[in-house]
Amino acid sequence: MGVDKYKVLVQFPDYSFVIWAMSEKIMLDDLDRRLLRVLQGDPTLSGADLADRAGTSLSKCTRRLDRMRASGVIEGVEAVIDWAALGYAVEVSLRITLDKTQPRAFDDFIAAAREVPEVLEIQTFLGRVDLRLSVIARDMAQYQQLYRDRILTLPHIADIEALMHIARVKSDETLPI
């Protein structure tokens, strides 16, 4: 009996730890959210400044960030490139409908689109269009050539619509946490 009791005592905290660790993945508290909000506004903040603005200590802040990185909530920080500053003045959104009678239409198309360096984004949708490519070019002449030689030659296209990009009104991509 004594041994059984011992087992139960040992197993129980182990088990509860597993549940706690699993649920922790998605359970964020107010402090976590505050840290994410501040960090979204300025990802270059030092740990000390971030802790200060979120009203917590540096050690607590570091622990929380480590935990959110480990659980995959924070995926990383990336530099945002301004293509216009590199001379790419033209940006076009191409909305594409594929020939869905081809069973490999999506895979073939996406694999081929990846080979075009001027393609910045490939998105797939449920809706009126199947796919969208974001494409940049130095000027309209280069865009026209790119469109003819590299885009129209992509496989299984049924229809293409173009939206010419004029201005970026909001681009921070923050989540309403």
């Binding site: 979204q40 990383g76 990336e78 998105q123 949708f125 619509e161 990009h165 009104v169 309403p176």
Partner: protein
Amino acid sequence: MIDLDDIDRQILRALSRDATQSAGALGRALGLSQPATWRRIRRLETAGVIRGRRLRLNAEALGFGVTVFLGVKLARKGQVSLDDFERAVTAIPEVQTVEHVLGLYDFRLRVVARDLSDFERVLRRRIMALPGAGDLEANVLLSEERRPGPI
């Protein structure tokens, strides 16, 4: 306009994947000293090539399961002010990006929501209430891939 050499391109590529790398670590990977790397990063920043840094979050892990792209056509063009529309749409927290475009639609919005019924709430209460909003087209995002671009 700024001219880039191969090392600049490698730095840009590396930073657009992971901007948390120090100039020292990045320099070591490229066979460059820490000060030389730092100077190159500074130059890219002051030329505006690096527009800023963005925190990449897992939207789904944070409870945002749905991303929708909305094409918005303004009704009664000329009578509504673009400024009013832009100001109002920018203020909606669920709207992540707003692009002014030329073509089938006037604006392209990226909207996040917890689920489809939450999206319906945003659509009805916020988007459809925007000054001048006319025709809408919604496409639900299934997958998204960002490419390094021509660098």
